[in-house]
Symmetry: C3
Subunit: 154 residues, 3 copies
């Protein structure tokens, strides 16, 4: 199975990559590494999942938001590289969870993101280094934002 077939088997449909809102680009390749901009839980209709974990959203809702972030991230990676087949492996993920000061389950939330990459690329290539932390505020109060570094070829 190639990655397109695996996406289909996982029931994942990649949306068109949205334009960055601000003076930046979705990703840059340098020295064999792809540095991806922060991505949020944007629905195909342009709305996003907003709110704070521990206040407006529970952990399951946060995980669903993180999964949506992963799907948008894949769309952006494909747009930058031309094809997901150029991804060699996930290197590093920074998962940022908009949350209350007493919230402590950021890793459980961000697993919603990481699981998609492990399902798609497999344990060896899809599982990278990671930090999952709390944030007091994210752009337009999106619930989760993730940035990442990948190793690429070609």
């Amino acid at each position: 199975m190639n990655l397109d077939q695996r996406l289909e088997a996982l029931g994942i449909v990649l949306p068109p990559a949205p334009r960055p809102i601000g003076n930046y680009v979705p990703g840059v390749v340098a020295g064999g590494l792809l540095f991806m901009s922060g991505v949020g839980p944007r629905h195909p209709d342009g709305t996003s999942i907003t709110g704070k974990l521990g206040v407006d959203l529970d952990v399951e809702q946060g995980r669903a938001a993180a999964r949506l972030v992963a799907i948008n991230m894949l769309a952006n990676i494909r747009a930058v590289l031309g094809s997901l087949e150029r991804v060699d492996r996930v290197v590093k993920t920074l998962g940022m969870v908009n949350c209350a000061p007493d919230f402590g389950l950021q890793p459980k939330v961000i697993d919603g993101f990481s699981n998609v990459f492990v399902e798609l690329f497999g344990e060896e290539r899809g599982r990278g280094a990671r930090s999952a932390v709390g944030m007091p505020a994210l752009p337009s109060q999106i619930a989760v934002e993730v940035e990442m570094v990948l190793q690429v070829r070609g």
Copy 2:
């Protein structure tokens, strides 16, 4: 126009690079990438722009702070590399905005930083990947802190 002439055309005068306050260095080159330490909105007289966006500062004041961060960052990059001409391109920027929990315009604030790099290096080399996020507290309560990765040559 070389970069020094372009800086002058933009009306930007780089201050001397300040010493890091802590056990770190302003930047490290490894594998063709320059990893720059977090920089704040420090005036040449040593004082800094402090306060939280959405409480003490409005968006325009935040953008001005982010612009000042960019000028300090350029001073630090020049100090590390010897010359700005060694910058190949901006790779990744992490813009951190000291803000209230309900503030959501971090990208607008951090554009004040990114705009300087795009004006100086041009759209191709100056526009990189980016995340712009909210922080609850920064060192000495500076309003904005930015760290970045650049690709360098030589």
Copy 3:
């Protein structure tokens, strides 16, 4: 003195590297760089130093937590690389301090981490670029979390 002897001279005993809690790995090497996952102030008995700086913990307690993070980080680096001798140099550290919104001494806290690396690897190899910032919440409310990038050989 090799690094093991230096560790002993510094009175540092590295604990076994704990398993990541979540769908990630402790570190990934790519392009000569080692990207390390976020690490917390975990005691050998599995408990961690928790609480917020400026509320539950003072600066000295925060520095002690950051020092413990460094010891855990070294244990993780050794587990990923096989030997600390493969570390070429510290490149970049992101020190995240769980703190109150009015706390401003993040660099003093994170020096507790950086000091260990400078003591062990020396000023040239052990002192890297760094940001030290405040966070509103960290996993399980640990007091300090640090992630880092190192240059490696072999």
